[in-house]
Symmetry: none
Subunit: 171 residues, 4 copies
Amino acid sequence: MRADARRNRELIVRAATRVFMADGEAVSMEDIARAAGLGVGTLYRHFPDRAALLALISCDVLSRLTARTASAAASDLPRWEVLLGYVRDAVQEPFAMLKSVPVDDPDVAEPVARLHAVVLDVIKAAQAEGSLRADIEPAAVLDLLSLVVCRQGARADDPLALVVLDGLRSR
Amino acid sequence: MRADARRNRELIVRAATRVFMADGEAVSMEDIARAAGLGVGTLYRHFPDRAALLALISCDVLSRLTARTASAAASDLPRWEVLLGYVRDAVQEPFAMLKSVPVDDPDVAEPVARLHAVVLDVIKAAQAEGSLRADIEPAAVLDLLSLVVCRQGARADDPLALVVLDGLRSR
Amino acid sequence: MRADARRNRELIVRAATRVFMADGEAVSMEDIARAAGLGVGTLYRHFPDRAALLALISCDVLSRLTARTASAAASDLPRWEVLLGYVRDAVQEPFAMLKSVPVDDPDVAEPVARLHAVVLDVIKAAQAEGSLRADIEPAAVLDLLSLVVCRQGARADDPLALVVLDGLRSR
Amino acid sequence: MRADARRNRELIVRAATRVFMADGEAVSMEDIARAAGLGVGTLYRHFPDRAALLALISCDVLSRLTARTASAAASDLPRWEVLLGYVRDAVQEPFAMLKSVPVDDPDVAEPVARLHAVVLDVIKAAQAEGSLRADIEPAAVLDLLSLVVCRQGARADDPLALVVLDGLRSR
DNA sequence: TATGAATGAGTGTTCATTCAT
DNA sequence: TATGAATGAACACTCATTCAT
């Protein structure tokens, strides 16, 4: 792939991520192109259609988050801190858009599964560590965090996230 | 308002509620009219535009829920039961659509405030009663319940709701 | 169907017929709408998509021609005259567009078959009458006439049609 | 013109001829470039626009056919055979595309005229020879053969061609 | 008044053509 | 010079809204 093509692809992904974060999933291809400073044609050269763009951005978001979480998990931080870090990172991403992506698409399903696997490990370890309530199924914890994180406009320090995290803490 | 006008308005609201529950917010005005057994023109006679219809249905949903919750609150049931009842009732309504309604609109803001007031009272009473964790701000509990209830396709007995409710319970 | 709707449908069909005759099959829906003095939306209210419009106009053309030919066939004109009349009528219609209509579509296949049946009868009768060369398969005569008639911009009195018709004549 | 430029031009013309034969005139420039194993840019280096490419391919087809027919005309074959050979050769070429080429373009008009001249000579000679009906204008015979030959997917032995050729034969 | 037909701006997508690499 | 990436006008089609019946 040529240098400028790679650069433009990156511009598209970044712009789309930005506008999805800001305005939700119902953004037109024209708007994304404009935000990227490119023509619509360029979008379509890089992504066959809207769904593909959504899918790719989702994958991007997911793998970025998986990488970051896995890296934190490899540290010797307390597992609770790793979990908090996950939430803090996730709310910085346009996670809400995942709701409009077909999770059946294997290209999306796989990165989702990988992220889930990493986070589930952290959850279990946090329960073993004693920082996370052990009387809740790990999968339920994951669901709860996903709920917190997938709201349009979520922030790590909004009351809701704080409540949920506090509710998950062992006493 | 004449009897048939009131009847049609009711038909529209009911039909819209139904299709919003079933198919989400992205339903066309034609679809709503068809579901109501009316022409689109009649929709527009009753509601100046799509936003107004959404707002009004939201109000309808909200006031119905407020009434039901207030009535339960007037009983001598345990406050925890009243709270559970609220969740059970709310998930039967197209609450998810509230996310696409401008809450700035005073016509919507007010019923929201009224529902919140009623539920907050129940929350505080449940904390006083000792059934609901008292170490969480009532407003935060409300947010948490809203989160549970406003998901598209939410059910009172899905794992997520169960986890949240369990997390709120005093031990 | 309401009076104005029927009138507009007629306008669409007429306008489309006209522009297909004039400019060939590659005309945009906007152009057709403009030619009909209507908005594109109206086209789509009457015809679900471009293919449906093409199919319907083809059917219209075909049945008009079938009716005219059958009526001539019911007269006591010489069969040769009936055949000439068919060619004269056909070249007045946007027959060329049939080449871009999916003949597999049963809605089109049937009127085509009906026209063919009528014309084949005339052909056979003309051969029996002695005015049409009898040493050619009726089906081949039909094909030949179709070829003459389906050219973009065909005219009944252009040299080509004259030659073909003359070639078909018994001597 | 450098050797590789000539080679590329040849590649383009050949590829375009091939895909026009196979898929009709509605082929994209990208498709043609891909079929030629070249980039679109190279197409545009050789041909200013789509019309020019079409025109040039037409010229190519026409002159190839003119050469072949003239060569056959130079032999001592019966003129009827030469005429049959012309039809057989022509149907192997993407002659249908000529319908979408502006014949006004002098670059196209001239090769058309040259082919016509050659074929007309053959036609007249065949009439003189007694193998071709002499009661039809040579120009009309030419038109008729053009009609046969310019159909998308024409073949020398399909019923239609056979009928036309048979109709032209003297008895 | 209720109806649903008409409208047209807006959306996703394609493709001839231009231009940076 | 050859490449193929970028462009944007054009197309088919949708749907909130208006308006004739």
